[in-house]
Amino acid sequence: MVRAPAAFETRNSNGLSQFCSTLEERPGLSILDFAPASQSTVSFITDYGHRLYSDDFVHQMDQCFGASGDFFENQSNPLLVTRFLETALDFDDQSFDGALVWDSLQFLTPTLLPTVVGRLHRILRPGSSLLSIFHAEERVEEISTFSYRIQDHRTVLMAQRSRRKPAQIFNNRNLEKLFQEFSSVKFFLTRDHLREVIVKR
């Protein structure tokens, strides 16, 4: 069962601000949110007249790869990978107009990550945006993972969920390579050692 997160801190997010500019284009968009479901994000998105698909992606990863054995080694197990993709990313092509992936991609291994990013590319419509967050410090054993909520078009509420080992550390160059199928990649380096990335499909 997902526990209620501890106290939230607020932070300004240029990435979110960029993402939200696409929300104002027209009502009736479909937005994918990989954070645990929250009232504030649901209200924010649906008040624009959009649909929200909510799923806790990190929770799905833990369910599939963290039940027994090594979390990272399990991401090379074809049976578990198939189950994970069916559970977490089984959507029709081009079914979303935006995706809030938050910090979840950092915990996927180099073997699985390209497959997941390829799926994200497939399920997003051309012209849509994806917001992702990566830790920017290169020499760290563990990083904090957060529960994200939208407060307003440029403010994110964050509560630490846990500290865990990242599968890999990213810099601008390997992020560009990761999202090479997309039409553009934009970075915002923040003071709290996070790299916000806005990717255009």
Partner: protein, 158 residues
């Protein structure tokens, strides 16, 4: 108690009995269709469809519902897997688990709840109040209380 999907289970509220909503208790297992013309609390297991068009469905803390649900209002404290359509509101309480697509006018999700699925808010159009019919404008000469003064003013312009 266990019922097979032979025919729909229909609950009916006895108005003379008074009391609260109908309750399917912890040990009750229903497989099939439930139609109710009263509020219903499910604290047991239900598989199939649940329809309470004008009433409230509560899935209790022990409730495990794997069904398509249609109701005026739904409150989830236990587990609900299936698509939910409410005319009014859905409440997903702390520690509840809901997997399915939601179509509703309003939604409330408490911290600690688990939800996976689509949320589609259906706005009910509020019809603007009918504009009042224009009243015939009374002429100054016939209805104004100070008709003589008005007439005098008109005279002075001549």
């Amino acid at each position: 108690m266990s019922t097979q999907p032979a025919r729909p289970v229909e609950t009916h509220h006895d108005t003379n009995r008074g009391g609260g909503p109908a309750i399917l208790g912890k040990s009750v297992i229903v497989k099939g269709q439930i139609y109710a013309r009263e509020d219903l609390t499910i604290d047991g297991e239900v598989e199939g469809t649940v329809e309470l068009q004008e009433h409230r469905l509560t899935v209790g803390p022990n409730g495990k519902v794997a069904a398509t649900v249609k109701a005026r209002e739904v409150v989830v404290l236990g587990t609900l897997e299936g698509n939910v359509e409410t005319r009014d509101k859905i409440h997903i309480r702390k520690d509840a688990k809901l997997v399915g697509d939601i179509k509703t006018a309003r939604i409330e999700i408490e911290d600690g709840a688990y939800f996976k699925g689509n949320i589609d808010i259906v706005r009910t159009e509020v019809k603007p109040a009918a504009a009042p019919k224009p009243q015939p404008v009374a002429s100054v000469a016939t209805s104004a209380p100070n008709a003589p003064a008005a007439a005098a003013a008109a005279d002075s312009k001549r």
